[in-house]
């Protein structure tokens, strides 16, 4: 497979591809270690007794084609893993009761690994359902052989996608609600501003059965803020993951909706600028955290230290545990999200590769530890460790992080996921109904009437 190379010559080092292969392969290992063969569900984290996150299942389904291409999994094994998950979701309890798996074609955010029923009184999550469906559609696009198993996988993916009643999620106005709970109904989260939801809208608008109305996308984008910050003009969102998630599946290079036409930009270029804003923030390091610099940056949602407040640069600093960290308004407690830094690879390899190389040296003896861990924090050093220790490192691994590493490295190396979704008629339809024009979309196949 050819290396995707749009890099300035000196940014790439000879061993980069080997380094990326190691990181990507190691990340994929998560999906082999933490899945349940009985129902295809994948654990949210590697920690003991973790429940399954439906979003992580979506990442796993998208990672199986990568594993086949890279020779880490046989095609047959990958199909069986995908089928296990798709069969489970198709036959799951859609009654919407507190012990079910979902309703209206959507699913609760967290499910019990064994039974697949709702865990933690979690919400029926629209965005996480969208990530799951994206994984199903990706797998269906890749496994195109005329074998009974692959045909069943494709049929199930189509059935499950068609079952989702997107119109139901337009409960309060045109924009999509964040979620729903059996105990209290629709959630009121004030889901405003640019977010990772662009994928959700594309899938919802592309549905052949219960599509979102066309005004949904405009209603959502009305809350966008185009800002000039640190010298970059960009569609603002604080945490890195927001600028990345939809790009794991959709190739936004050169295609533009109304907003991006007005701004003479596209979402891919926007994510590149957002990556630079993250780096600029770390260079400024307004709260004087240990280690932040031009090659150590990346604030995103993830795990962080839950230790007692301590004095940092003369002031009292609290530590936030799991939080959606962002720039420039925080929350910021000195925690870097290594997986998010790496996932910006497609956008700005010239600054990501040096940052990744530095992360690799962070934990002595475990090369990829600081890249795969959800967070690292050199400020919140445990009191007992020496000043030279790497600092706090999040325990274990998170499935979302490993999924993003696998998909974004693959998009950098080969663009595989982008090619697969380009061939999904519903993605093209969804993008067009959201107002996207130009680029690859101009020549993409339009769906035939079902």
């Amino acid at each position: 497979m050819a290396t995707h190379s749009t890099l300035p010559g000196d940014a790439v080092q000879a061993d980069d591809d080997a380094m990326l292969e190691r990181l990507q392969h190691a990340a994929f290992g998560y999906f082999s270690r933490h899945w349940n063969p009985a129902n295809g569900l994948v654990a949210d984290t590697s920690r003991p007794d973790s429940h399954s996150s439906i979003a992580v299942v979506g990442f796993a389904l998208s990672a199986y084609p990568v594993a086949v291409e890279r020779g880490w999994l046989t095609r047959e094994e990958a199909v069986l893993r995908g089928l296990a998950a798709l069969r489970f979701f198709w036959h799951s309890d859609q009654s919407g009761t507190p012990e079910s798996t979902g309703r209206n074609g959507f699913y609760f955010h967290f499910l019990h690994m064994d039974s697949g029923t709702r865990a933690w009184r979690s919400e029926l999550s629209l965005i996480d359902s969208a990530l799951l469906l994206a994984g199903m559609l990706t797998a269906a696009a890749y496994f195109d052989a005329p074998t009974p198993d692959e045909a069943e996988l494709r049929q199930l993916a189509d059935d499950i996608y068609r079952r989702a009643d997107w119109r139901w999620a337009q409960h309060d106005g045109a924009a999509v609600v964040h979620g729903w709970k059996p105990e209290s109904g629709f959630l009121n989260y004030g889901w405003e501003g640019y977010s990772e939801a662009i994928l959700l809208y594309v899938l919802g608008l592309g549905s052949p059965t219960h599509p979102l109305t066309e005004d949904s996308f405009e209603a959502w984008t009305a809350t966008y803020q185009w800002e000039n910050l640190y010298g970059e003009d960009f569609l603002y969102a604080g945490p890195l993951f927001i600028h990345q998630f939809s790009h794991a599946w959709i190739d936004f290079r050169g295609i533009r909706d109304r907003f991006m036409r007005e701004k003479r930009c596209d979402y891919f270029e926007n994510s590149r600028r957002a990556t630079y804003v993250q780096r600029e923030y770390a260079i400024r390091n307004p709260r004087s955290f240990v280690g932040f610099d031009a090659d150590c940056w990346g604030l995103s949602a993830g795990d962080g230290p839950s230790v007692k407040p301590r004095r940092v640069a003369g002031r009292r600093q609290a530590f936030y545990g799991y939080a959606a960290r962002g720039v420039p308004w925080g929350p910021d407690d000195g925690t870097i999200s290594g997986p998010s830094t790496l996932a910006s690879l497609v956008f700005a390899p010239e600054i990501v590769l040096p940052a990744v190389r530095q992360l690799l040296t962070r934990v002595a003896g475990e090369e990829g530890r600081a890249v795969h861990a959800s967070g690292v924090n050199a400020t919140a050093r445990a009191a007992a460790t020496s000043a030279k220790a790497a600092g706090w490192v999040s325990e274990g691994e998170f499935g979302l992080d490993q999924g993003m590493i696998v998909l974004m490295i693959e998009n950098f190396r080969s663009g595989l996921l982008w090619q697969l979704t380009r061939s999904c008629p519903c993605i093209g339809t969804g993008l067009r109904r959201a107002g996207f024009r130009g680029g690859w979309l101009a020549s993409a196949t339009r769906p035939t009437r079902a």
């Binding site: 919400e123 809350t223 185009w226 800002e227 000039n228 400024r284 003369g314 420039p328 925080g330």
Partner: protein, 507 residues
């Protein structure tokens, strides 16, 4: 979450009955003999009514000013000004606690003297009311009548049995506290923003219901006085009008001060229990219970239209939206105008005063000034403050105006860094491709002061690029505005000129 009812001396009625401010309502005041008809009759002596009466009297009009309670209105007596004095005291306690952040040793002990802070507030209230005393107004030619006004016809009111006729009238009665409908609240007891300033002893714990500006300000102040403070707000973010980043910063600031935050939360019932109040709260279907010593609510406001017999004057109104006025502030009775909170969406002192001036000009001097042309900045005095003027981005986008925001974090402003006041930002919104300022939001220790610069530029129609040429005193926090202006000037710089400059340098 449960706190045993405290054994502190706090009692909801521990606040003495509010002492009367001798300036705001003098003892033994005799209403003047009615002259008829008055050129302008003003109902309500809050900020709007006072300005209207003064402006009209100064122009030579015969003016009557009718006040049912005390001169000064909600702003002086129970609203912005008392709260600002309390906030100042609370801020000092917060700074003493955080003195180490500034390289200063914290005092070893820091007993909170709540009564002294309240005494200071009352002193300041009296001091501020001197200039608006009834005697002073009378000397300025305003006939001050204390009593409740009700209309008896299209051109007359009755004030405690005395009929006053007018050629033109201005209704400036403001608002009254609105109580949320919560089961058992009335029986269990609560304090409103009107009663809270009568306290002498702080409640050991307080639940603030409502996360609008006043709710957030008071919650932060109470927490800084050492009261265990909870705030329950039915929306996902505080300050629903403000942009998300600003509201989020307020939320974080409240949390830092130790306020227990309950967002998306509805208080469903209150019961008296022992010396405290047992409160049930619902968040996304999860019920939780807490016990507090006091509840502070009634922070939402409703227009004060009851008891005026507006029907008899033919003045149309709505119980929630208040008196209906056109863009010239005229009601459905062409003789009668309205100004301030009783008829406007923006319930601020500055808006009340500006609208009152406008109404007097339109009513008495054939003016055609439009309310919609007014540029009104406002500010929530939490720490950091949140100030805004003009359009929000969302409003601009809904109007199909392409908008671009120049954002300067306070952590990029030298003076804010030196002052240890880096929480905040300046965001100035312009029409894309131009330097026309559409609006701005500022968050910071002194946001209320900074927003005036932007309001000045907007009213004087000074483009943001031009502000880049205004040399600012250095180092000041206002430099954030110059930095935004500089970024705007750079982004509008002509690429051709830049190319020519490069060519020139390489010659």
């Amino acid at each position: 979450m449960r706190l045993a009812p405290s054994t502190s001396p706090y009692h909801p009625d521990a606040g003495l009955p509010r002492e009367r401010n001798p300036n705001a309502r003098p003892h033994g005041w005799q209403n003047p003999t009615a002259r008829s008809p008055y050129d302008l009759l003003v109902i309500g002596a809050g900020p709007g009514g006072l300005v209207a009466a003064r402006v009209a009297a100064a122009a030579g009009a015969q003016v009557a000013l009718i006040e049912g309670h005390e001169i000064g209105g909600n702003c002086l007596n129970d609203g912005c000004l008392p709260s600002k004095t309390i906030i100042r005291s609370a801020q000092l306690y917060a700074e003493m606690r955080n003195a180490e952040n500034f390289g200063v040793a914290s005092p070893p002990e820091m007993p909170v003297d709540f009564a002294a802070a309240m005494e200071r507030m009352r002193r300041i209230r009296v001091r501020l009311s001197r200039i608006d005393s009834a005697a002073h107004l009378t000397a300025e030619g305003v006939a001050v009548h204390f009593g409740l006004a009700r209309f008896v016809g299209p051109d007359a009111v009755d004030v405690d049995g005395v009929r006053l006729r007018f050629k033109k009238a201005l209704i400036a009665t403001g608002t009254r506290a609105q109580l949320p409908e919560i089961d058992g609240l009335a029986e269990a007891g609560y304090i409103t923003n009107e009663k809270v300033f009568n306290l002498r002893v702080p409640p050991p714990s307080v639940l603030v219901i409502g996360g609008g500006p006043l709710g957030c300000e008071l919650a932060q102040a109470f927490a800084r006085f050492g009261t265990r403070t909870l705030i329950a707000h039915s929306e996902p973010l505080f300050l629903p009008k403000e942009e998300r980043d600003a509201a989020q910063m307020v939320s974080e600031a409240l949390a830092r001060d130790g306020v227990e935050i309950h967002l998306n939360c509805n208080v469903v019932s209150v019961r008296r229990e022992g010396g405290g109040k047992r409160v049930k709260m619902m968040v996304e279907g999860n019920l939780s219970t807490t016990v507090v010593d006091e509840i502070l609510t009634g922070i939402g406001r409703l227009p004060a239209v009851q008891g005026l017999d507006l029907e008899k004057a033919g003045v149309a109104y709505d119980v929630d939206a208040g008196i209906r006025v056109d863009d010239f502030l005229r009601t459905s009775n062409p003789r009668i105008y309205a100004a301030g909170d009783v008829c406007l969406e923006h319930q601020f002192t500055n808006t009340a005063e500006a609208s009152a001036r406008m109404a007097v000009r339109n009513a008495l001097f054939l003016g055609r000034q439009r309310m919609s042309a007014l540029t009104v900045p406002w500010c929530t005095y939490t720490d950091p403050q949140v100030a805004h003027v003009g359009l929000y981005v969302k409003q601009a986008r809904e109007l199909d105006i392409p908008v671009k925001t120049f954002t300067v974090p306070m952590h990029d402003v030298d003076r804010a860094i030196a002052d240890g006041e880096e929480d905040g930002f300046v965001k100035i919104h312009v029409r894309e491709g131009t330097d026309r300022i559409l609006g701005a939001t500022i968050v910071g220790r002194h946001a209320g002061e900074l927003i005036n610069h932007v309001a000045l530029a907007m009213v004087a129609r000074i483009g943001l690029r031009q502000l880049a040429g205004v040399v600012h005193a250095y180092p000041t926090q206002g430099d954030a505005i110059r930095q935004a202006a500089q970024a705007c000037a750079s982004s509008l710089a002509s690429p051709l000129r830049a190319w020519l400059q490069r060519l020139w340098l390489r010659r």
